[in-house]
């Protein structure tokens, strides 16, 4: 059976319908990245500057989350949410994906902060900066620049993993693809197109970030 028959044309005609799922895919991705970034940054601060118990707690959190498949976290939150708060599946997905990525972003931010030479914060302290000023004006701006390539990889992973939201019935790209397939019975072509859309998205994301990395690069 050729993939270039009438039903193939039908798949291509469904492209606008597929692309309508982009909104959900992108908003899930961005919200999860934001949530994961906030938790991750706090975790990194706790592990670098925190007292021993806080350090241990943050480390245990990261280690545990990194060992849990996204699907386990997702279903757990889904059942928890539907049991107690009548949480929407969109919220479940954002929370699950955000928590999952937070453990990885914590590692990225921590490595970035620790890569800044001690002399930088010593020099800041020597001119009378408070620890707070020191961190936000001297250490963090340098650390974040070094994080960009690693953060870009993680962002691409979050974008791709957002496709798992379809299991909860969220009508993002993947789910819409399955509707197209049940109508056209063209799984190969449909997944090819969906794969291509994700490929373009990840390329835009990573190229965009590496452009940004060059823009904010410290001269020399």
């Amino acid at each position: 059976m050729s993939i270039f028959d009438d039903r193939a044309a039908e798949v291509l005609q469904s492209l606008p319908y597929l692309l309508q799922g982009l909104g959900v895919t992108i908003s899930v991705t961005l919200l999860a990245l934001l949530l994961g970034g906030l938790i991750g940054l706090m975790g990194a601060l706790a592990r670098v500057y925190g007292a021993a118990p806080l350090r241990a707690a943050a480390a245990a959190y990261s280690r545990t989350i990194r060992s849990l498949p996204l699907l386990v976290i997702l279903f757990f939150l889904y059942f928890l949410g539907s049991d107690i708060y009548e949480m929407s599946v969109f919220t479940s997905m954002v929370l699950a994906l955000g928590i999952h990525t937070s453990a990885y972003q914590e590692g990225i931010f921590r490595a970035g902060i620790q890569s800044i030479e001690r002399g930088q914060s010593e020099a800041a302290a020597a001119i009378g900066m408070t620890p707070f000023q020191n961190f936000f004006t001297i250490v963090l701006p340098q650390a974040l620049r070094r994080c960009i390539p690693y953060w870009g990889n993680e962002a691409a992973i979050v974008l791709k993993d957002s496709s798992l939201a379809y299991v909860l019935g969220l009508t993002e790209l993947m789910r819409r693809g399955q509707y197209v397939i049940s109508r056209t019975h063209q799984a190969f072509l449909t997944y090819l197109i969906i794969g291509l859309i994700y490929l373009i998205l990840t390329l835009v994301l990573t190229r965009g970030l590496s452009y940004m990395e060059k823009r904010v690069k410290i001269p020399g």
Binding site: S67, Y191, Y198
Partner: protein, 225 residues
């Protein structure tokens, strides 16, 4: 609490079957991924022309698309082209293809981190390019690659859970079966999650132990962040 424990003991046999399947998928995917990924890394590093371009494109495409799309492509898409693959091998192939691209990048990074002088010194005593790569570069790169490879291993073990979407009876799928039967989703998922945590802790320990065993005396004292 006693009730929880009794519940766990009751579902353990089923979870254990699932865990064995998860491990089977992981080992299959990681080893096949290694067998594909290492040559890809060599071609991307030392190759040129069309071959290098094809390999680079393969790596970019695989890394740019979701795991679940790759899985469905193999299991639902390929049959339309006349290639029908059983669910378990389909899952292993999809996971292995995904892993091969990441492993290729890790191997390449490790190869490039071995200094140029090592290669030059090998050539200077008369080694061919192949000998210098085989005897000088790879033994060092394979040590350097262990920490990132360990990360990849964790990712793969976790990603085997999506095989449940094509009804492979691995740990996640067994959990779902139990949930539908018992209507105790939270407890079930807790135990499923705990099994993943325990298994991954053990596997990471083993890899760490291997890394220590093969460590070059006095060299690369601690690369882990």
């Amino acid at each position: 609490m006693d009730d929880q424990w009794a519940f766990f003991l009751r579902i353990l046999p089923e979870l254990w079957e699932g865990l064995k399947m998860s491990m089977y998928l992981s080992v299959g995917a990681l080893s096949l991924g290694l067998v594909i990924g290492l040559p890809l890394a060599l071609v991307k590093t030392y190759g040129h022309g069309v071959l290098r371009f094809v390999v680079t494109a393969y790596i970019e495409v695989v890394r740019g698309t979701p795991m679940v799309v790759q899985l469905f492509m193999v299991y639902f898409g390929l049959p339309e082209l006349g290639i029908v693959i059983d669910r378990v091998p389909a899952a292993i192939i999809a996971l292995a293809v995904n892993s091969s691209a990441y492993q290729a990048e890790y191997f390449r990074g490790a190869i490039l981190s071995v200094s140029e002088g090592q290669y030059a010194a090998g050539r200077a005593i008369g080694m061919s390019q192949g000998q210098a790569v085989l005897h000088i570069i790879l033994p060092q790169a394979l040590r350097i690659v262990i920490p990132p490879w360990s990360n990849e291993m964790v990712y793969m073990v976790k990603y085997t859970s999506i095989a449940f979407l094509i009804a492979v009876p691995e740990l996640m799928a067994q959990g779902q079966v139990i949930i539908t039967r018992t209507f105790r989703p939270m407890e079930t998922l807790f135990w499923v999650g705990l099994l993943y945590v325990i298994v991954l802790a053990i596997l990471s320990q083993i890899v760490d132990w291997i890394e220590t065993r093969v460590r070059i005396p006095g060299y690369q004292s601690d690369r882990r962040g």
